[in-house]
Symmetry: C2
Subunit: 237 residues, 2 copies
Amino acid sequence: MDEAAIHGILSRLLMAGTLPGSVKLGEHRLAEIFGVSRERIRKVLHRLGHERLLEIVKNRGAFTIEPDLREGRVVYEARRILESGMAAHLADNLTEAQIARLRQHVDAEADALRSGDQPTWLRLSAEFHFLLAEMTENPIVQRQAHELISRTLMLVKRYETTAGSACGCEEHRAIFRALAARERGKAVKAMHSHLSLVETRLRPTICVEEGPSLEEVIAHEIAVYREANGAALMAAG
Amino acid sequence: MDEAAIHGILSRLLMAGTLPGSVKLGEHRLAEIFGVSRERIRKVLHRLGHERLLEIVKNRGAFTIEPDLREGRVVYEARRILESGMAAHLADNLTEAQIARLRQHVDAEADALRSGDQPTWLRLSAEFHFLLAEMTENPIVQRQAHELISRTLMLVKRYETTAGSACGCEEHRAIFRALAARERGKAVKAMHSHLSLVETRLRPTICVEEGPSLEEVIAHEIAVYREANGAALMAAG
DNA sequence: GGCGCTAATTTTGTGCACAATCGCTAACAG
DNA sequence: CTGTTAGCGATTGTGCACAAAATTAGCGCC
């Protein structure tokens, strides 16, 4: 298990938001769970801290962050700023192939929503924004957008009322339509209002529901990783 | 000399663009220069790599990046996307006090330009964009903008023809005027065209001019740091 | 019984030594 | 003369051991 793998597993785990806030991620404990040396965990932890996926307190260790709604406001504001700019750029530069790809994605979202497949829809819903970031074909923007979207995923998983999520699909379609028509102003507006609406859907639910232990959660995530990795290896070989 | 200090010194050094590209920053060598252990340097180097201020090659070490014009295109595109979004946001949300502050800054830029004080003007010119980022009052946007602007500083210092720089002042004023008038569309346009113009001013000068040695450059930077730090200490005490 | 202080324990931070890897050079074969 | 390979030197990566810091538990005192 190399550094990249551990980083991937932990970052996915943190983005999923399955852990409550302020959970201590002890170096020694993680080292035992992953079966690697403490230094390797240490490096990964500091990197995750730099990516703002957890909080590093000097001489105290790493803690999962409680993404409170106050911080949520900041993240969504940042997304409105960045993704509005992205929308403007994309409206001017999308190729026909990219537009087709977007249409396909929005349709898939609608399908998942109609069939009541909520996990799939949730995933596709996030991927829509990742997809837009990719289409800028700008690695810097991609990284910045990735970081922001990751952080909102934690928020959504924790605070969003599932009922409210349902209406998001039409908003994505509105963005798509404006982009496809290359109407810059309309695309920016659609993106802006979409992100504002998602933000308003966050409810301060007092969720202190206790999940399984850290060991179990990570074990599951490792299993998922091995599965995906195995599949990739088969495809490659 | 703690980690933060070393990071600050090196990041300022790299942003200044005084070093040519592909200069090797050996861990042992830097450790000796700063008079600290290799591990501390190591940590800082990796962090700087993560911030894309230098390049880390596995088993090879850290190298200053040659900010070639190809990469410059990407950075400026990212800035157009992000700072256009910022301009739109600011046009809607600036306070009167902030507008006054901006006016003051633009005037200072004009003064510096008129009096031919090029170093000051160059600094103010960059600070204009930092100032706009600050005024979003959004720490995430501030960090992202900071990273982008830092990277362009390297480019400008290296590739921009000094003669061409002179016309940038009016562009900043145009942005300011649109923001002050709260004309969102105009502000976005002004920002977009400004960043495009700056980019076109970059010339592929074949500058292989050899500067002083790494030791000398860093020694100078350390002196600057101590001076600033000393002043801060005096003000604090 | 509550509060504050101290000591012990646990956890992170750091320096050091060794191992692994890479590039370079030189020698040898074709 | 050129291309390839093996050995060497240098530099980074990693595990380990120790040091520093913080939390907690225990104890005495008010």
